[in-house]
Amino acid sequence: MTGDAPLNKPLSPFPANSLRTGPDARGRFGQFGGRFVAETLMPLVLEVEAAYEAAKADPSFQAELDVYLKDYVGRPSPLWLAQRLTDRLGGAKVYFKRDELNHTGAHKINSCMGQILLAKRMGKTRIIAETGAGQHGVATATVCALFGLPCTVYMGATDVARQAPNVFRMKLLGAEVKPVTSGAATLKDAMNEALRDWVANVSDTFYIIGTVAGPHPYPAMVRDFQSVIGNEAKAQLHAVEGRLPDIAVACIGGGSNAMGLFHPFLDDPSVRLIGVEAAGHGLDSGQHAASLSRGRPGVLHGNRTYLLQDDDGQITEAHSISAGLDYPGIGPEHSWLHDIKRVEYVSATDTEALNAFQLCCRTEGIIPALEPAHAIAHVAKIAPTMAKDAIILMNLCGRGDKDIFTVAEALGVTL
C-alpha cells in the first residue's frame, strides 16, 4: 500500500496494543518498576537513563556492541535440538538456546558488555557489581579486565563460601571481591552494599546491575541487552522449523535470562511463555525463592515488584539450591507480565532441579547450571504431555561447572 498512513493508525513499528513498548516515562510497567532510591542517587540514575537513551539512538553504539558480542562473547549462541532428551521425554521437540556457551559460561555477559560500553561512553572510571552465584561477578570482572577498569564485586559471605571457584575466577581477573556479612549475607544484601558503595562514590563509579531489577532504567536496559537471546533464537528456530515455538521456557531469579528470551515473543500470542521460579524445599516450606507464587508487591532495591516479605513489610530470606535464583524479588516487568497473565509462572523444587541436572548431563552431554536445571525440570514435566510435532524452546542460560561441588554435596558424594 502506498500513500499517507491512515490518521488513526500509529506510525510506530509496534501495534498500539504491543506489550513491548514499556516502561513508561516514569520507568513503570503497569504499577511495577519506578525509581525508589535515595535522593543522593537520584541524579545518577537520571544520568544513566539519559546516557542510555542517547546510546540507543546512536547506531555506532550498537555496532560497537555487536562486534564485541560476536568476536569476544561468541554470539550468536547455537540453537540445539536436544534429540536424546526429546526421545527420553517422549513428547514435544526440545530446543536449547545455548547461552551457556558464551564466554564466561552464562548469559550475564550479554548485559555486562552493553553496560560497560555505556560506562565508558559516560566517562566512568570505576565499576561495581553485586553477585549471587558469581556468574554476574565473573562476567563483570571479565569485561573490566578487557577494558582495563578497576572492579569491585559485592558478594554475600554465604555465597562466597558456596561458590569458591567463581570467587577465585573474579580475583584472577583482577577484581576485588568484598564479602557482605549484613542480613543473610546473600544476593539481596550484596545489592544493598553495592548501592551503598554507589552513594559513596557518585562521581566516578558505574554500577553494572546483573538482572532486570533496580531503579529505572536498569530493568529496561538489562532486558534490551539480554533480548539478543530471544531475537537470535526466534530467527534460528525459523530457519530450521519455519515457525515460532509453541512454548518458551526459562528459569527466574531476578529474571534477566527469561526477560531476554521472552521479550521478542511478547507480541506473538501463539507462543506460551513460562517462567520457572525456584521452589527450594517446596512452596509451603517457607524456604523458597518464589516471589511471584508466594510474595506480594512491595518496594526493594529501587523498584516496585513482587517480594518475599512478612506481614510488617520486612523482607524475608529466599532459599534455593541455586545461588543465582536465591533472591527475594523479581524484575518488575515480570511482575507486570504475571498480573496481565501474558507469562505463566510456575516453580521447580531443589530436588526436581537436581534430577533435571542429572538428566541433562546424561542425555545431552551438557552439564547445566543449577539455575536452568529448574527450567529443564519444568520441560521434563510438560514435554511428555505435548504432541511430537510441538516445539519447546528453553534457554540454557549457564553451564554447571561452578555447581559441581553443590551437586556433589546434595548427592552425598565427597570430592
Partner: protein, 276 residues
C-alpha cells in the same frame, strides 16, 4: 500551627538552632527505647527522630544497620513504633516527632491507613529515605490529609536545577544530607557546608537540618551555625551499642550514657549561636 513549625518559630525567637537526636525503635528492646524517648526532651532535644527498623536499610552505614537489626530482633513492627509515639504523647504534646524509615513497611501497612494512624498517634513528620520526589505522589496526599509533614532529603548531588523539584510539596523542614555516602561514615567540612547550605536556603523558606556525619558537640555546633538544626544518630547509637552486654542486652547505664551524650550535644548547640 504544626508542632514542627511552632518549634522552629520558638527557636528562631530564642536565636538558636535545634538539636534532633535519633533513636531506633525497640533498640535494643521496647522498654529501653521508650526510656530514651521519654528522657530526650529533658536532656535537651528540640525535635526527636525515631528510626523505623527495616531489613534492608540501603542508605545506612553499619551503625544504623545494626540498630535496625536489634530492633527487629526485639520484635519491632510499624504498629509498635506508632504505639511508642502514642504513649509519649500522653506526657508530651509539644516536642515534634519525626519518623525516619524506608517505604516498604509503610506500603505493607497501607499508606493511607499508616498516615491516619500516625496522625492519631501524634507523629509530626515522615522521612522516607527511598521515596524521591519522582515517586512522592504516593505518600504526600495522604500525609497532608492527616497534617503530617513529608520532609525531603537534599543531597550534595542535588544541583540547583533539580532543587525546586525536590522541594516541591515539601513541608516541616528540609533535611540536608551533608555527604555523599551512607550514615555514620564521614563528616562534611565547614567549608563544604558553607558552600552548600546557602544554595538550599535560596530555594526554600523552610528551616534546614543537617544530618549524616554530625557526631560530636563541636560538629553539631558547626551544623547549627551553617543551618537551623543538627541531626545526630550514629554517634548516639554507637554509645548505646557500646553499653550492651555480650548478649546484646541493655546495661544498667545504657539510658544514662545516651542521654548524657544528648545533653552535651544540646549544650553545644545552645552555645553555638551565642558565641558565633
Amino acid at each position: 500551627m504544626s508542632r514542627i513549625a511552632a518549634r522552629f518559630a520558638q527557636l528562631k525567637a530564642e536565636g538558636r538552632g535545634a538539636l534532633i537526636p535519633f533513636l531506633e525503635a525497640w533498640d535494643p528492646d521496647a522498654a529501653t527505647s521508650m526510656a530514651l524517648l521519654r528522657g530526650m526532651p529533658g536532656a535537651g532535644a528540640d525535635l526527636i527522630e525515631i528510626g523505623c527498623p527495616f531489613t534492608d536499610p540501603m542508605a545506612d552505614g553499619p551503625t544504623v544497620q545494626l540498630a535496625a537489626k536489634r530492633g527487629l530482633a526485639a520484635g519491632a513492627t510499624m504498629a509498635h513504633t506508632l504505639a511508642m509515639v502514642r504513649e509519649f504523647r500522653r506526657e508530651n504534646d509539644t516536642i515534634p516527632i519525626i519518623l525516619m524509615g524506608y517505604l516498604n513497611p509503610i506500603l505493607s501497612y497501607g499508606v493511607e491507613r499508616f498516615c491516619k494512624d500516625a496522625g492519631i498517634c501524634g507523629v509530626d513528620g515522615l522521612i522516607v529515605v527511598d521515596l524521591p520526589s519522582e515517586e512522592a505522589d504516593l505518600l504526600v496526599p495522604h500525609a497532608t490529609a492527616h497534617a503530617i509533614d513529608v520532609i525531603r532529603l537534599v543531597a550534595p548531588t542535588t544541583d540547583a536545577k533539580r532543587l525546586p523539584l525536590v522541594l516541591d510539596g515539601s513541608s516541616g523542614f528540609v533535611y540536608y544530607v551533608s555527604i555523599t555516602g551512607v550514615t555514620g561514615t564521614r563528616t562534611a567540612s565547614a567549608d563544604e557546608l558553607a558552600a552548600a547550605i546557602p544554595l538550599v536556603r535560596k530555594a526554600t523558606k523552610l528551616p534546614i537540618a543537617i544530618g549524616f556525619g554530625v557526631r560530636s558537640p563541636a560538629q553539631a555546633a558547626a551544623a547549627v551555625q551553617a543551618a537551623d538544626a543538627a541531626v545526630v544518630a550514629s554517634a548516639l547509637l554507637d554509645t548505646l551499642a557500646g553499653s550492651l552486654d555480650e548478649y546484646g542486652r541493655a546495661g544498667p547505664d545504657t539510658v544514662r550514657l545516651v542521654l548524657d551524650q544528648v545533653r552535651e550535644l544540646a549544650e553545644a548547640v545552645r552555645a553555638a549561636r551565642l558565641t558565633a
